[in-house]
Symmetry: D2
Subunit: 155 residues, 4 copies
């Protein structure tokens, strides 16, 4: 099992890109929601999603669950970017403004802390180029194993 | 605008049922996810959702976003059950165990506090009749207006 | 190392009581704040604290930090009650009403989930016999080792 | 009542400094814990606290309640820095590493969002010049009134 991040920045970026592609290929959920993976790097990821009609709740605004799901997906790609399997153990979200049908949302995930098997990530959700929609904080836990089995870090 | 819960338990239950039906009729998001509203009462609601293939993430387990969305939906029906429009201001979820394709999940929402315009609700997500999947806590904020315009409480 | 809760309810209660006494004897922080341990059982604990003048903030109400500390202490006794060392990994608190000088606060901790090394606990803080002050949810993580070294569960 | 932040950066800084001094003068809680207010600006504040023996818990490390209290104090000064009375409505903290007796902790508060009466603040707690201890996120709510009655913004 891989136990450390790769030794230099270029290798870390290549590894993150490879992990992102591998996760995407088997990720039914984000694809079905029409998300796109904008960028991925060591401990970071950006995802986008347009608000569709089937995402609206009874108040005719985007159901908070889909905003959460977008943020949670960016979080997942960021916290798995070292090729070490990690899952969310807990998440917290503050909703700041409603999102409406047709708006394109972007979630940017940033690593705030990484100690042992645990990481803390902040994800900001905005209308692309516009107002903040939500702030999400997630805690990740490494569960053992690699995202891409057998790939050596830095190789 | 309605400013108080209705005066007796029967009326409160009738009002909650009417609100639940009205919300459901215009709620694209929960319908598209195949959810069913199991029960609704004053400050409480139960919703169910089966884990579909298009809800699986790259680890082949249910994407946490859909578990959150199920809990968030139960929360929404519970906190709007008094016919006073309310939205989620913030939510927190702890993931306890993975959910797998085909499993039927049930979210039960309970009111823990209600002071002024703010409410706190706990939502427990389980595999129906089985293990706990997640614990969710949501904070609601009343935004003015009725869910069913013009309906008098207790009428 | 102890790996399981003791086999019956009486033994579990005796163990929790012994753990509570041992923790209390070396717990400078809760003693310095004038707290009292009201009760302890397997996965539960009750603590009390009177709001002192030196706990008031610039708004002349109890600083939220002391309300948190009371809840966190009840949480600590509850999650260590099996004689398996545990620490808080994360906590969330919603403040419902201010607490004033001289009021006696009571925090009741209840276990909501326990899976592997992780536990989730809810702590409700009230003015004794009166209004709710705060709702706290804490996540615990077992770090290895016993609270009372060498004490066998059920012995 | 003041309804907007002052019009320029210098005035905003002067106002924040005046608010900080006024809050400090009547803040029994932070003074009793030996905290010092390192800096305050519009939406930001830095506070320090040394870990004293009477802050240690039964594991001989700093009780999480005091780490929370330090972060919560920095949060309070940051969210009141516009001279508009605000209180914490909810807070979440992740504990990353233990703090030991004698260590000097620093909490830095930063504004992440401000919409209407609600604000979201991030507070990072570190050993001064060293490792991260905790990450705190707080939500503030303006309750009406000024911190310094009658002081005009920008005056």
């Amino acid at each position: 099992m891989t136990t450390q991040p790769p030794p230099n920045a270029d290798d870390a970026q290549l590894l993150a890109s490879a992990v992102g592609q591998a996760m995407w290929a088997r990720d039914n959920a984000t694809q079905a929601l029409g998300m796109t993976l904008g960028a991925i790097g060591p401990g970071t990821a950006t995802m986008r999603m347009a608000v569709r009609r089937d995402m609206l709740n009874g108040h005719s605004i985007c159901h908070g669950g889909f905003i959460f799901t977008l943020a949670d997906s960016a979080f997942a790609y960021a916290c798995n970017s070292y090729n070490l399997n990690a899952v969310a153990s807990g998440c917290q979200i503050d909703f700041l403004a409603p999102a409406r049908e047709g708006e394109l949302l972007e979630a940017q995930a940033t690593e705030r802390a990484a100690t042992g098997r645990t990481g803390v990530y902040d994800i900001a959700v905005r209308v692309l180029g516009g107002r903040q929609i939500a702030l999400f904080r997630g805690k990740s836990h490494r569960i053992g194993g690699d995202v891409i089995a057998g790939l050596q870090p830095g190789a």
